[in-house]
């Protein structure tokens, strides 16, 4: 009888001990990431993962979010809407993440946007640029921390208005992104300079995404004798286009060239000195644009860890985690609704500069950097000289123009 009592006491003690110790080991804050991790665009998922891991390690080293460690879960969107939605669902229902971060493709982002409210989890978009996710299909759960297409193209239009070019044409990927870039460019440039002319739809070039030989498009655009060309190709398409175009004399200075995503580090690193000098190039984040201590530390830590300069997608995932942390700390809670309210109107300093997430459409108002490609012996890749910084408020369309109704 006494032995049984002793045993019971022991079990009780153990039980109490474990409950207490469990209460002390804080439950981690779970963040779920969905990017393209396979196929031809896997590089973008890789960049995002690098940026995310850097942010998570920095936060955990400094004590986590309100004392709770951060845990990251990565899923592959494969660049397809159905796979992306499956991945998002898995993260929410199986891993029970507190916040979703990701999405590279505009097509994917637009298709999954209407399904996000069912998941009742905030989604911070860091790459997909379609204006629609913070416009016509916006909703309470979707935020975007990166520069969107409208902001980037508005910047291009401001630059275009400063050149002497009158007649403009475009080369862009043959899906919503390329077509919308051209549409918005036309709209914005016409507002600034009513004299500007734009080649009709059948004379501009929209090579399909899978194109590897751009020669016929290069010939077509050169034959149309424009004064200026807006190029919205990106990634491997842009690399191929620039190399083949250089050989065919496309960049000889016969016309102005604006490349909306030409300052992407993965493109510049692949091309190195094959990137022509003197092209106007933009990006969502340029690692030399901001001289703030925060940016310098980010670039240094990233370079020390991965031996490359941070691409805009790395900055996107890094920035999203930092914004989540700021929102959770502002709300003093990791509850999903509390974080959503805290993200609305949040102003936070990121490496790119100070950004404000508008409460009305959940789009970040963020500065844009464009510059002319130039050689610099201090860097193995082309850098931007001169650089022009455009203020977020000057390039972000008014809420009324976005078409967003929460």
């Amino acid at each position: 009888m006494r032995r049984q009592a002793a045993l019971l006491t022991l079990i009780l003690c153990l039980a109490v001990f474990f409950t207490v110790s469990q209460a002390h080991a804080e439950k981690p804050v779970k963040l779920g990431f969905v990017y393209i991790m396979s196929g031809p665009f896997a590089a973008y998922g890789q960049f995002a993962k690098k940026g995310a891991e850097l942010a998570v390690d920095e936060i955990n080293k400094a004590g986590g979010i309100m004392g709770r460690p951060v845990k990251a879960y990565f899923e592959d969107s494969t660049g397809k809407p159905d796979a992306a939605l499956r991945a998002l669902r898995k993260l929410v229902y199986q891993e029970q993440v507190d916040c979703l971060i990701g999405l590279d493709s505009s097509g994917v982002a637009k298709s999954v946007a209407p399904s996000i409210p069912q998941l009742k989890t905030p989604l911070i978009i860091t790459h997909a640029a379609t204006p629609d996710v913070t416009g016509s299909v916006c909703n309470k759960y979707i935020f975007r921390i990166s520069l969107n297409l409208a902001q980037n193209v508005k910047t291009a239009a401001l630059l275009a208005a400063q050149t002497k070019a009158k007649t403009w044409t475009t080369v862009g990927p043959d899906y919503a992104f390329g077509h919308q870039s051209w549409e918005y460019f036309e709209k914005y440039l016409k507002e600034i300079n009513p004299e500007a002319k734009f080649l009709p739809k059948d004379q501009v070039a929209f090579p399909p995404f899978k194109t590897t030989d751009f020669s016929s498009y290069i010939t077509k655009v050169m034959q149309s004798k424009p004064d200026g060309v807006l190029i919205s190709l990106w990634g491997g398409n842009l690399i191929d286009f620039v190399r083949q175009g250089s050989d065919m004399g496309f960049f000889n200075g016969d016309f102005e060239v604006l490349v909306t995503l030409g300052a992407a580090t993965e493109v510049l690193s692949a091309l190195k000195d094959k990137m022509p000098e003197g092209l106007w190039v933009g990006s969502r984040y340029w690692f030399l644009a901001n001289q703030s201590p925060l940016n310098k530390a980010f670039v240094k830590n990233y370079h020390d860890r991965y031996n490359e300069y941070p691409s805009y997608n790395a900055h996107g995932s890094y920035g999203a985690i930092m914004a989540y942390k700021a929102a959770a700390e502002k709300a003093k809670s990791c509850g999903k609704d509390a974080v959503i309210s805290a993200l609305e109107g949040l102003t936070i300093e990121l490496p790119v500069g100070k950004i404000t997430i508008r409460a009305e459409d959940h789009q970040a108002v963020t500065d844009a950097c464009w510059g002319k490609t130039a050689a610099d012996p201090a860097y193995p890749i082309r850098v931007l000289k001169p650089m022009k910084i455009f203020k977020g408020k000057d390039i972000t369309p008014a809420v009324a123009d976005t078409g967003c109704k929460m």
Binding site: P40, T212, D213
Partner: protein, 286 residues
């Protein structure tokens, strides 16, 4: 005039690359009866190995000779260890197996060389441009226009004038009869598959200086190659040549004159051929 000449050269150089890929695909199909989904992956491997070898020996020519040979060697291994086991099975097994090889090779490339983009420099002698009307035209493209028919001619001579070439054609016409007259068909199959892999890799190495390298780069070209093979005639050598040229020219002139409809042209052509001449331009009646 410049437009016409430029489009002609653009179409021919792209067509020649397509031809190199398609001729391997069609030969393997003609002889082994295998529709090889992994053919595009050999194309990709050829490009990556060429790049890797150029890191060790900085010469494009070494890369383009050694790289495809290594891929040919891999072809031997794949045929002997995997394909051989399923010749007698249903055709769906072949599709599954070659598709599995494709996934395996694509992911291997991503693991080894990473998911980023790579570029390969053209050799100095071919890297420049020549004056072309008011503009310039890359020498490397002209090189492709010339090298394509040369390789095609070499292959054609091989198939028509050498004993080995005749043996391959005989086996393609009737496998059992070839075996009956004493041709060692298993050995022949290995050789033909390795040869097809080598051709795909050669195409990849030749494509490397003018397109960026990224995992799954083979998946893009394999679809067009299938179209070439079907419109030219499955298993037909001249069919691959004609089909590749047609598709190349359709691509360049279509872009110049047909606007957005250009994208649909190869598929319309494919549909028309399948409707009215299902065996392809040069295909045998089946």
């Amino acid at each position: 005039m410049e437009t016409f000449a430029a489009n002609l050269l653009n179409g021919l150089s792209w067509g020649m690359l397509l031809f190199l890929i398609s001729v391997g695909l069609t030969t393997v199909f003609g002889v082994l009866g295998v529709l090889n989904f992994a053919h595009g992956s050999f194309f990709m491997l050829g490009a990556y190995l060429c790049m890797q070898i150029m890191h060790i020996v900085p010469s494009f020519w070494v890369g383009i000779i050694v790289g495809p040979l290594l891929v040919g060697g891999l072809g031997v291994v794949i045929e002997k260890m995997l394909l051989r086991k399923i010749y007698d099975r249903d055709i769906s097994f072949q599709l599954l197996l070659t598709f599995a090889i494709l996934l395996f090779l694509d992911d291997s490339v991503r693991l080894i060389w990473g998911p980023g983009y790579h570029v390969v420099e053209a050799p100095a002698i071919l890297a420049g441009t020549i004056p072309f009307f008011d503009h310039t035209y890359p020498i490397y493209r002209l090189f492709l226009v010339v090298i394509g028919p040369l390789i095609g001619l070499a292959l054609w001579s091989f198939f028509h004038f050498t004993r080995w070439g005749k043996v391959v054609r005989a086996a393609a016409v009737d496998r059992e009869m070839a075996e009956g007259v004493g041709i060692r068909v298993p050995l022949l199959f290995t050789a033909v598959f390795a040869f097809g892999s080598w051709l795909a890799a050669l195409g990849g190495a030749l494509a490397a200086p003018h397109q960026s390298l990224a995992p799954a780069m083979g998946e893009r070209i394999i679809i067009e190659s299938f179209i070439v093979v079907v419109i030219g005639g499955m298993g037909s050598f001249p069919g691959a040549f004609a089909g590749a040229l047609l598709l190349g020219l359709l691509d360049s002139f279509g872009t110049a004159f047909a606007g957005r409809a250009q994208m649909a042209l190869p598929f319309i052509l494919l549909a028309v051929v399948l409707l009215f001449r299902p065996q392809g331009f040069f295909g045998r009646e089946t």
